[in-house]
């Protein structure tokens, strides 16, 4: 076989990340021309995957695998079949021209290197997503595309609109990603498999499982948000805040197709059920109509294209959702066609914006003389988008009409939706590609002229590819469409793709209807636009506004909750903490019926009575103490009594530590007291006193009950035996406590001393707060206590 150890595939996925590392330095060195050598990276990846095409078309499947986190069974494994190969070719092929285009588009921008770096990172993530076999790997790359998309949309981070769009895209697609993760976890537990290839081989297991509806909804949650399906479509037009290369790459050709990819990928195991063929066409169809109608209303070139992207994604979801073989053939063709023409048109829009200084379609006209090459590319791409021959867009439309029409029942609705959607698509194509170039010359903010080679290379090549794919229809069918359709359906099929329809059938008639309808609507575009504007004004509310309201609601709720929980009053915090402690002690003891059975008093020796007497006198002293300072010192008596108990019962280390901690606690508490603006005496009224006393009693009773109960349980000596046996032989130490701390459980101690140090730093910072407010003093007190408790815990 011509390809490929696992290393080659891994290398292909990692290469963009390596390019991301060198891009900034290279750009600093060479300026915009760095795009030329950098574009070699995706070009090389493209050639690598192109080399796989003949084998894959012959039905070969590869699963190159590399161990990643072996202890959790996570592998870096890839799955190469028709679907993933086509996506990898689109990503790397279009990516090559996007890198060139970005070189020209952001020429002289101070952060061009950073921009190229982000683009490469995205490219790597996207390749990993479409090639990923292990479900967890796939999810990680899925989220990585969301994160890199966030960086790219927010590239112009000084503008509030960019930041908002970036956060919105991250929240929507990232949130959908979490849904997808949940879906994957359920799939993994149902099938017991961790890789896509194994899940795909599981047949009807998922479809027949009781959890199927849940799995489907979770996966759709991921796919619909990523692929901007109504009502999650709003983030995609907002993402047009990004520089145009990003829009052309992420938000038309690649990332937004990830959701469609996932649906196609999982179709063999999740598709063709009543739920699937109901939900998908419904949402896809709604997205198609909403997207095209909203596109008509826009006058900004990029926004028009963005809404038609939403519409096209809806069309793809709708076709995939029918689960009909013919419709899926149409989907595969449309997927290819859309990536080519939409990528090209976005770049054209960017070039117009770059050279003429505006992308408002009402302020553009007559550019054909000034920008002939861009005009030619725009025409080719727009013809493909309109579904006119001899372009691949035409073939796609023929096949999808044939696919929908061929079945009985629902199709009439779907056909109507598809015809209206495609007619409106033609309207937009004409408005984007024809209007700015034809007609009388309109004065533009900048004096328009043809862009450099870097800018027109992409649109020209992509739109010519759309033409070539149609002229070489047979090869397109054999090498690309058949393997993709085979992957989606899960069995090997051969699709015969013709440019010229074999007979005059329903598809051709529907095409003619579409074109006529489109031309009529285009002539009325201004009226249509006004009508849409009025309609939207009448509705007034949309998901975009809803997003803002939801975010504002969350912020308001967390503000309310924080104010409720963090009132800033020390005594409330303390009361809550101790109440919860009491509950944590008493409730489990009561619920599980674990109160100690009988209290047997062991025979105390006289000195043990003495220790008890000391403890009780300490307690008494605390209760009757007149000043707070006396109470603190008296509390120390109590602690020393405990230390004595430890010593008498054979825990010298513990006792030793208890003495020291107790001493230092008293010293530090006394020091803190002198700094607090508290009255030396306690002036609490009777009622709070009783209440606090009751809490103290509850904790005391609970802790005592727990300890007595524990001592009544049979003692498991296995750990003690282990340490007694090995402390001397393995760790060379006789003091078992110390050996456990510094050797057997050394890593725990390491964490604990890090906590001690951090607590110390925090206390220091709090003490440094100037005592301008009473609150600062209150904080000191709490932190001092806490640090001591922490140090105590670290040891005990």
């Amino acid at each position: 076989m011509a390809l490929t150890g696992s290393e080659a595939t891994v290398f292909a996925v990692l290469a963009p990340f390596a390019a991301a590392l060198v891009a900034p330095a290279l750009t600093r060195l060479m300026g915009a021309n760095a795009a030329w050598p950098l574009a070699l990276v995706p070009a090389g990846i493209f050639l690598f995957f192109a080399g796989l095409v003949p084998d894959v078309a012959a039905g070969a499947r590869y699963t190159p695998t590399l161990e990643w986190v072996p202890s959790y069974g996570v592998t870096l494994s890839f799955y190469i079949d028709g679907l993933s190969t086509l996506f990898a070719l689109l990503i790397s092929g279009i990516g090559t021209f996007i890198i060139l285009y970005a070189g020209g588009y952001l020429k002289g921008h101070p952060h061009q290197g950073r921009f190229l770096s982000f683009l490469f990172m995205f490219m790597g993530a996207m390749l990993g997503l479409v090639l990923g076999n292990d479900l967890i790997t796939l999810f990680i790359f899925w989220e990585l595309t969301s994160i890199t998309s966030f960086l790219l949309i927010g590239f112009d981070h000084l503008r509030a609109a960019s930041r908002r769009a970036a956060i919105q895209a991250l929240v929507v697609t990232g949130g959908g990603g979490l849904s997808l993760l949940a879906g994957f976890l359920v799939i993994m537990s149902v099938t017991g498999e961790a890789s896509m290839s194994a899940v795909l081989a599981s047949g009807d297991v998922l479809r027949e499982h009781a959890l199927y509806p849940l799995i489907l909804l979770l996966v759709l949650g991921g796919a619909f948000t990523k692929s901007a399906q109504f009502p999650f479509h709003f983030w995609l037009p907002n993402a047009m805040e990004a520089p145009t290369p990003v829009s052309a790459f992420l938000h038309s050709a690649t990332m937004v197709k990830a959701g469609v990819y996932l649906l196609m990928r999982m179709h063999p195991v999740l598709g063709d059920t009543v739920l699937w063929t109901t939900i998908l066409p419904l949402f896809g169809g709604a997205t198609l109509i909403v997207g095209t109608l909203l596109a008509v209303r826009q006058t900004d070139l990029k926004l028009m294209l963005a809404y038609t992207t939403v519409a096209s994604l809806g069309l793809l979801v709708m076709l995939t959702g029918t689960s009909w073989e013919k419709a899926i053939e149409g989907a595969a063709l449309y997927l290819l066609a859309h990536s080519l023409f939409k990528g090209a048109l976005f770049m054209v829009a960017g070039t117009i914006d770059h050279e003429a200084g505006t992308r408002d379609v009402t302020r553009l006209g007559g550019l054909r003389k000034a920008m002939p090459i861009t005009f030619a590319a725009a025409c080719l791409a727009a013809l493909s988008m309109s579904g006119l021959p001899p372009f691949v867009g035409f073939i796609a439309k023929e096949y999808l009409y044939a696919g929908i029409w061929g079945e009985g029942g629902v199709p009439l609705t779907l056909t109507a939706v598809a015809v209206i959607g495609n007619a409106l698509m033609l309207v937009i194509a004409a408005a984007v590609a024809i209007k700015p170039f034809l007609g009388p010359k309109v004065d533009t903010p900048k004096h328009a002229h043809e862009g450099p080679l870097l800018l027109y290379a992409g649109p020209v090549v992509l739109s010519l590819t759309g033409l070539a794919a149609a002229l070489l229809a047979h090869d397109t069918g054999v090498y690309f469409i058949s393997p993709v359709v085979s992957s989606i359906l899960g069995n090997q099929v051969a699709v015969d793709v013709h440019l010229v329809p074999g007979y005059i059938g329903a598809a051709l008639i529907l095409s003619v209807v579409t074109v006529v309808l489109g031309i009529v609507l285009f002539l009325k575009i201004d009226a249509l636009r006004d009508a849409m504007a009025r309609l939207l004004a009448a509705i007034g509310w949309g998901p975009d506004k809803g997003f803002d309201q939801a975010i504002a609601g969350i912020v308001a709720f967390s503000g309310w909750l924080t104010r409720r929980l963090q009132g800033g009053r020390m005594d409330v915090y303390m009361t809550m903490t101790f109440l919860v402690t009491a509950a944590a002690l008493l409730v489990p003891l009561t619920l599980t019926g674990n109160w100690p059975d009988t209290l047997e008093m062991p025979g105390f020796r006289f000195y043990e009575w003495g220790v008890l007497a000391i403890a009780l006198s300490g307690l008494f002293a605390v209760l009757v103490a007149r000043t707070r300072l006396t109470a603190i010192v008296s509390l120390g008596i109590q602690g020393f009594a405990v230390a004595l108990v430890f010593m008498l019962f054979g825990a010298p280390d513990l006792s030793f530590t208890q003495f020291m901690v107790e001493t230092l606690s008293v010293v530090i508490l006394a020091l803190v007291m002198t700094r607090l603006n508290l009255q030396p005496r306690d002036h609490r009224p009777m009622l709070p006193r009783l209440f606090h006393g009751a809490i103290a009693l509850a904790i005391g009773v609970g802790l005592a009950g727990l300890l007595i109960r524990i001592t009544q349980m049979p003692f498991d000596r296995s750990l003690s035996d282990f340490f007694e046996q090995y402390s001397r032989t393995i760790a060379h130490g006789r003091n078992i406590v110390n050996v456990i701390l510094v050797d057997f459980r050394g890593f725990d101690t390491f964490g604990e001393i890090a906590v001690v140090m951090l607590a110390g730093l925090c206390v220091l910072a709090l003490i440094r707060v100037r005592p301008t407010k009473d609150r600062a003093a209150a904080l000191d007190h709490a932190a001092g206590d806490e640090a001591l408790q922490k140090s105590g815990e670290a040891r005990l």
């Binding site: 280390d653 003091n735 001690v756 640090a787 140090s791």
Partner: protein, 139 residues
């Protein structure tokens, strides 16, 4: 608090306590003791010195900021886990060396350095807190 007797005795007491804390630290592996207790003893020594003779005197005596001592301790503790990596063993596997100094066998080990790290972290953190509190008392 600053009686003449206290002020006279405090330096000697503090010095003895620090010495004792090191003794406790080193015997820890076989007898009651160890880095944590040792650290607490040394911290109380500095606290006593500070109460008796003023914070400035303590800061002069230890010359480093106590928090740097703490950080150094954490660093030493982390470092002590590294040698095992070179022996192809997991992080923090204890290593032992037996040195012969003037005819006396001195066992050295990575847990000892780890315990020294614990000692330094405790001394540094508690001393920082205590000194900072004492300082504010006097200004």
């Amino acid at each position: 608090m600053r009686t003449i007797i206290f002020r006279t005795i405090a330096p000697y007491l503090a010095a003895l306590m620090v010495l004792f804390s090191i003794f406790v630290l080193l015997r820890g592996h076989n007898e009651p003791g160890g880095g944590f207790i040792g650290g607490l003893i040394a911290a109380s020594a500095f606290a006593i010195y500070g109460i008796a003779c003023g914070v400035a005197a303590v800061r002069r005596a230890i010359s480093l900021h106590p928090m740097s001592i703490s950080a150094a301790g954490l660093f030493v503790a982390g470092l002590s886990g590294l040698p095992s990596l070179f022996m192809a063993q997991p992080f923090m596997t204890s290593q032992w060396w037996y040195l012969n100094l003037f005819g006396v066998e001195v066992p050295l080990s990575t847990p000892l350095f780890f315990d020294i790290g614990v000692y330094l972290v405790v001394v540094g953190s508690i001393t920082s807190i205590a000194l900072a509190l004492e300082e504010r008392e006097s200004d």
